[in-house]
Each structure stands twice: as structure tokens, then as C-alpha cells.
């Protein structure tokens, strides 16, 4: 490994000279790190879709996909090949530039957020000291992909779906943002690394259990998952905002949705479930990244479990839940957290 590094350094220096090589090397190294981060995420996404079909199949006493490869392990590849080979249909009267920009604007924010996710104290792509704010601000961009796709499709179903979806995403973003504030108050830092480090004694889920519950329900709504999948309520809106998308531009929406689900599962385990910290001290010999993956994997399972269990919400019930139930509870919990910190003399 060391020899390889020296080989690259010496040849690069000879090729570009001492002025340009360090700059080019920084660029190259960052690019390699990004690829090393995105590839596992994408593999996770593709196998999460298979896991979803298998788990929901088991819950509904079905078999699920089992034709492509042993136990259906090749199913994600079959799906990908199918989506790539299909014809891309552009609806008449659509705004082409916006139409093609929209799916990538859904996927790109979902991938951008992975930059600040720490997998262990050392394993982090960009150690930003406002990590959690970065995640919140980038996640607020996801709504543009939805709005643009609905508007540019020149279809009533897509437009109605995008309006619903945007309203839902904005509402639950507020609820989600307020559940994160007590976490930040307890740890006294906006950096995800410090937030995990501050849970060394006790995980945030214990003092902030209601916040964790609200966080999880909010992200289910934020990622447009069942039982809050009103944007694509197929009985009334065909498929919501991506009704008119086909082939890979349709696939990009799906990749974005699943990447988002995995991301919020990781964030939930980092903020509330102690991240890479083991549940009991003597289990510390197991690497932190395995603990983190197990916790995130559990939350990802709950996503599917909820989908197989609950019927769809009605839109007015959804709005009522977000604004009239979650918002007051999380606002008052911020006050309670401040009071608790004051009483126990932490501030």
C-alpha cells in the first residue's frame, strides 16, 4: 500500500510538476473517496429494494422475487437492466429542460447528504462542524425535484401529486427540524461526530424518547413512504409526481427515495441510538461501524414493517398530525430540555 502511494506520488510529480501536482492529487484523492462512499450506498439501495420485496412478501405470506439468481439475489440487476433498456418517453407539451433536470435534482441531494455522515470517529468524508445543519439544508432541496417534475410533465395527475408531496415534505421538515434541536442542545454541538461522542454515557433515545418517535414518523412522511405515500396514491393520482416518467429517469426517483430512506436511518441511529457506540461496554471489541450498520439496518427494517402494517393516511389527517400534534409536542420538549439542562446544572 505504501509503495503504491509512493509510486503514484513520484510519477504524478514527474508528470505535472511541483506546482500543479498537489492540487491535482487533492482533487483525485477526494474523487476516489467520493466513489468509495457512493458505491456502497448504491449497492445498499439496490439490495434494499430486494429486501423490501422479500420482507413484505414474508409478512404477507408470499415468496417474493425468487427467479433471478439464487433466492432472487440478481433481481436488482434485472430491474436495473430493464430500466436502462426501456424507451424514454417525453410527454407532449412538457418543458423538456426542467423535465430532465427534475429526477437528478431528487437523486443528487440524497447523495450529497452522505458527505457528512460519520461511519466511525475517523471514517468521514467531510468533517464539517455544522454537519447537522448541512443535512437539514440539503434535505430541504429535495422538494424542488418533486415540484419541477410535477410542473414540467404537463399532466394534471403529476401536478396534483407534486403539490401534495411538496406540502407534505415542507410540513414534516418543520417537525423533523424541531426534533433535532433537543439533540443539539444536549450535545452542545452541530457536528455529528460530537453528537455521537456526547452519548457515551447514555443514548439520546432515553432522555428524548418522544423526540425519537416523532423524528421517525416525520422522516417516514418526509421520504413519502407508506402510510404517508399520498403523493403517489395510485388509486387517485396514478403515480403522483412521476406519473409521466419512464425508463431511467423514473429509476432516478426511486434511487433518490431509497438513498434518502437509508440516510435518515443512519442519521436516526447517529443522533438517537448512539451511532457507533456499543450498547454495553464489554461489547466494544466489535467494530463501531458494525454497530452503526446494525442500528441503521433495524430502522430500515421498521420502514418496511410500517409499510406492511398500516393503511394509508388521509391528507387532512396527515396535515393535522404534523402541525397540530407533532409541532406542539416537539416545541414544548425543547423547553423541557432547556429546563432539564438548567436544573441539572449543565448550562
Amino acid at each position: 500500500m505504501n509503495e503504491l502511494h509512493q509510486f503514484i506520488q513520484s510519477h504524478g510529480l514527474a508528470l505535472l510538476g511541483p506546482q500543479w501536482w498537489p492540487m491535482a492529487w487533492t482533487l483525485l484523492w477526494t474523487l476516489i473517496k467520493i466513489i468509495l462512499l457512493i458505491t456502497p450506498v448504491m449497492i445498499c439501495v439496490s439490495y434494499y429494494t430486494l429486501a423490501e420485496r422479500k420482507i413484505i412478501g414474508a409478512m404477507q405470506v408470499r415468496i417474493g422475487p425468487n427467479r433471478a439468481g439464487f433466492f432472487g439475489v440478481l433481481q436488482p440487476f434485472a430491474d436495473a437492466i430493464k430500466l436502462f433498456c426501456k424507451e424514454t418517453i417525453i410527454p407532449q407539451g412538457s418543458k423538456k429542460a426542467v423535465f430532465f433536470l427534475a429526477p437528478s435534482l431528487t437523486l443528487v441531494p440524497a447523495l450529497l447528504m452522505w458527505a457528512v455522515v460519520p461511519f466511525s470517529p475517523e471514517l468521514i468524508l467531510a468533517d464539517v462542524n455544522v454537519g447537522i445543519l448541512y443535512v437539514l439544508s440539503i434535505s430541504s432541496l429535495g422538494v424542488y425535484g418533486v415540484l419541477m417534475s410535477g410542473w414540467s410533465s404537463n399532466s394534471r395527475y403529476a401536478f396534483l401529486g407534486s403539490m401534495r408531496s411538496a406540502g407534505q415534505m415542507i410540513s414534516y421538515e418543520v417537525a423533523m427540524g424541531f426534533t433535532i434541536i433537543p439533540v443539539v442542545m444536549l450535545s452542545g454541538s452541530l457536528s455529528l461526530k460530537d453528537i455521537v461522542a456526547s452519548q457515551q454515557g447514555v443514548w439520546n433515545v432515553i432522555p428524548l424518547l418522544p423526540m425519537f418517535v416523532i423524528y421517525f414518523i416525520s422522516v417516514v412522511a418526509e421520504t413519502n413512504r407508506s402510510p404517508f405515500d399520498l403523493p403517489e396514491a395510485e388509486a387517485e393520482l396514478v403515480a403522483g409526481y412521476f406519473t409521466d416518467y419512464s425508463a431511467m429517469s423514473f429509476g432516478l426517483f426511486f434511487l433518490g427515495e431509497y438513498a434518502n430512506m437509508i440516510l435518515v436511518s443512519f442519521l436516526g441511529s447517529l443522533m438517537f441510538l448512539g451511532g457507533w457506540l456499543p450498547p454495553l461496554g464489554f461489547l466494544g471489541f466489535i467494530p463501531g461501524i458494525i454497530w452503526l450498520s446494525l442500528k441503521a439496518g433495524f430502522l430500515m427494517f421498521v420502514f418496511l414493517w410500517i409499510r406492511a402494517t398500516f393503511p394509508r393516511y388521509r391528507y387532512d389527517q396527515l396535515m393535522r398530525l404534523g402541525w397540530k400534534v407533532f409541532l406542539p409536542i416537539s416545541l414544548s420538549w425543547i423547553f423541557l430540555t432547556g429546563l432539564g439542562l438548567h436544573l441539572f446544572g449543565k448550562v
Binding site: 464539517v128 455544522v130 445543519l133 448541512y134 430541504s140 422538494v143 410542473w151 401536478f159
Partner: protein, 196 residues
Amino acid sequence: MVVDIIFYAFAAVTALSAVGVVSSRNQVHSVLFLILTFFSTAALFVLLEAEFLAALLVMVYMGAVAVLFLFVVMMLDMDATDLRQQAMNHLPTGILVGVVILVELVVVLSHAHSHGEHGAVATVSNTRAIGQTLYTQYLYPFELASLVLLVALVGAVVLTLRSRSKGAKRQNIGQQVARVSAETVQLVQRKSGEGA
């Protein structure tokens, strides 16, 4: 060096998309250009190591204000030519406002230069610094500003609140959940051929 290249790239995107806001024929495209302007401005803030301000700019302006703009513009079917005619009438006012902003900028910049304060001010944690300044030194102006926002909030609610007592149907979720089939379902026996 690299920072310079990045700065000019983002500054160019900011300026070009700002031109796009006023020059594009489609209003939705205008709003999308406005969003791009916000985003590249946030990137410029990051270059100044003011990542807290950048995150706030993206969250507040792109995550909330611009979404509202986009909502309204998408819902209203406005005629572009008519709007252009009206916009020409407001040209003198627009130029006046532009000149005032330019003069203000020049005054502020020349003032800052005379004190030698320019470029990036790298603080240890500017989030903490902003919080401490805001809640100690500028506490009263800050609270006053939040009061103004509260008044605006209440005003918006009052403006949109209509009394819908006439023939309005309201849903009471508690009632809906408490309903049982014995109260609502009625089994009626009818002789065939008699109808209801």
C-alpha cells in the same frame, strides 16, 4: 489560487442566473434561476468559511421562501406579455432603487477598506460566535425582530381566516375515530317492489 478559480466560477453563476431571473420569458424559469442564485451565493459564503450563514441561506431562502414563490407562480397562470408591459411602467422606480443600493454598497465597501477589514475572517466556530453576539449584545433588536415576525404571522392568519359557517362541513377527527358501526349502520327490511 484554487479558491480564486472556485470563487470566479460561483460568482459567474450567481451573476448569470441573476440575469436569467429578469430575462427569462417563463415565470417558473425565473423562480428556478432565482433558486440557482441563492445556491451559488451560499457557495460563496462557504468560501468565506461562513458555513453557518450558508446553511441558513439554503434552509430559509431555498427551503422555504423560494418554495413558496414556486408554489404561487405555478398555481397562477399569468400572461407574460401583460406583465412585461406593466414592468416597463415601473422602470424609473426600479432604476432609482438600483442606484440607491449601488451607492450604499460603494459607501460600505470604501468604509470597510479604509479600516483594512476585508476577505475571510476565519473564526474558531462562527456558529457559537453568532449565537453569543445575537443573544447578548443584540438581544433587544433580536427580540424586537422576532416580535415583528410574530405580528406578520398573526396578520397572515387573520387575512386568510374566513368564517365558513354557512353550509360548511367540518371534520372532527375525535368523533370520526369514536364512531362504531352500531350507531351508524341501519338494517332496513323492505318488501320487494315497494322501494324506499
